[in-house]
Amino acid sequence: MAEVDEKSSAARSSATLESLGLEAPVHELARPHVDEWAVRRMWEGVQRRRAPPVGRERPYVVALSAFAAVAAVLALVIAGAQLVRSPAEPARANVDALPGRAEPLLTSEARRFELLEAPPAPANPASPSASVGSRATARVDFVDGSSIEASPGARVEALASSPGEFAVAVRRGRAQFRVTPGGPRRWRIEASHAQVEVLGTVLWVESDAAGSSVRVDVGRVLVRSPELPGGSQPLAAGEVLRLGTPLAALDAAPEAGAAEMAPQVLEPRDTATPASPAARVERRRARTPPLGATRLERGAAASRPAGSRVGGSTAAASLWEEADEARRDGQPERAAELLARLVERYPEDSQVALAAFTLGVLQLDRLARPVEAAQSFQLALELGLGAALRDDAYLRWAEALSQVRDPARLAMVSAEYARLYPRGRQRAAIEQLATAASSAAKRRAPNGGAAPPAREDP
């Protein structure tokens, strides 16, 4: 029998393996194929499991599940009876009951969010050129990538956290909410006179005793208030809703250059029955990204250290604008560099998938860098590129892989596209590229075998 001795040359040999005619380590001989499908499938599983646990079927819990189901039905019956007795029970009572029953949404420091309070602004405020992030703001990041940033003097309190909902209240002042889309929880933000329901978006909420304002920068929210016609009002990106006594307007953005973003008053959605004259919906003339970027902020963004997330949306917007300018000016190198920086520094920006796609187009069409282009297109797709561009992204990804002569990955892309879009308009083109690459590889390889890929599998 071999001696198990770290220092001897026989340390890695085994009498068993020797007798079998095998050499350690055996993993060189037996390597399971972990394809892109498995990688993505498992990632989705990781994301699902990071959400509060949902029951996974296991043989020995079936009976327990049945018992739990019966108990749940009984509980529902009892709860229903209680609701019948007290129909006017406020929703808040349910919210308060939630935290103890489920996993809370934790902050990035693995703590439970309770309170976010920013110190009041100094009497003599900083120069108008300062961005929001450079003032005395307070910020909390959550493990799912969401964040809350309270402006000076603002106070945000936790109300509840459950598998399906995370609720906070803006007690005073203004706060920015960046809610990562696709998460398992609905965010509910309570303010004076209003309640905002959020799935994935960037918005500002300002509240005090007199009223509140909600401004949506990205995505869409639903605002509920007795002052609104019908009790609720959907709000899209670029729109502002004011309830109660108008506040110091959110649209009077703290950034310099706010004048060009002055709100444009829209017609109320239901002018026939306005529930409150104080409720008005306004839309910004702001360009995408909605918060806009002033030239003064660009300097501030450039001076921030890499990875800084303060004022992320504005800095990302600056990079977008500069990249657009560089493209228009015929500087693809510069544009690609800016887009790459945007992708790296602001991965949670709502436009990051589009940035990765644009970067890939530049790399493929203008810079003749197909290896990098393939990575950019893959990244864009993984980051959830919009449906309108996914077709093109797959085709361009395939074109890039075709240029780098990587038939194996090209076949994988082709199979993935065919699975996702059986009638996709680019299917024939992608399959043609895959077939051509495979044929070329066979011609190149001796004995008609498959040629090795031109680059390492990323």
């Binding site: 068993t16 005619g21 350690a24 990632w43 990035s108 991965p347 990575q375």
Partner: protein, 207 residues
């Protein structure tokens, strides 16, 4: 590497010993960047999946364990002291989860509830170009490995299938160096007793 490459290429770099990049990604993940988590996942998922699949010999269970391992790793990320060692730490979590899975599998088998199929035995996932003798040898090894107690099987496989250093094997098994040596010796002795005689030798030492 220019600025552009530095910005984009590391995202999808194949896993390797790039500890500084791991450290950076861990710090960014701790800062709340969901993409950093995804990049950490992409850098390590293949290595972890390959190892766990070989250990468990079941693809479905391996994927389950890998997902649990990443969930545990991301949840406990703040407790990781040496952030450049994310890969080794993650692997330890995964192997520990695999060990637990072995124990559960044994319990289910005793209750007659283990309906799993060893679809990723070493022989089944062997290189298609492997010569028949060594493929047969892998098959015999598979059969005997399944008869070993979980702790012995894990120790022996980490050492001789995965090629781990003793210290790494001990760390991943959650035991001392002396214990891992003892387990490996015992496992090798048992396997040798069953396989030592009459095992076919390959026609050449290199495949």
């Amino acid at each position: 590497m220019n600025a552009r490459e530095a910005a984009v290429l590391p995202f999808l770099r194949h896993p390797g010993g790039d500890a500084p990049l791991d450290r950076e990604l861990v710090e960014r993940a701790l800062g709340g960047e969901s993409l950093a988590q995804q990049l950490l996942y992409r850098r390590h998922v293949r290595a972890v999946t390959e190892r766990v699949t070989r250990l468990l010999a079941r693809i479905g269970e391996a994927e389950d364990v890998v997902q649990d391992a990443f969930v545990e790793a991301f949840t406990c990320l703040p407790s990781l002291e040496d952030r450049s060692r994310f890969g080794a730490w993650l692997m330890r979590i995964a192997v520990h989860q695999a060990h637990r899975r072995f124990r559960r599998r044994r319990l289910l088998a005793r209750l007659g509830l283990d309906r799993g199929c060893d679809d990723a035995r070493l022989e089944a996932i062997a290189d298609p170009a492997l010569d028949p003798d060594r493929r047969l040898a892998l098959g015999r090894l598979d059969a005997e490995l399944t008869r070993l107690p979980a702790s012995l099987r894990l120790a022996w496989m980490l050492r001789y299938v995965e090629g781990c250093e003793l210290a790494d094997a001990a760390a991943q098994s959650g035991c001392s160096l002396a214990t891992i040596k003892r387990r490996i010796q015992r496992a090798d002795a048992r396997l040798q007793a069953r396989l030592g005689d009459g095992a076919p030798r390959s026609r050449s030492s290199h495949g």
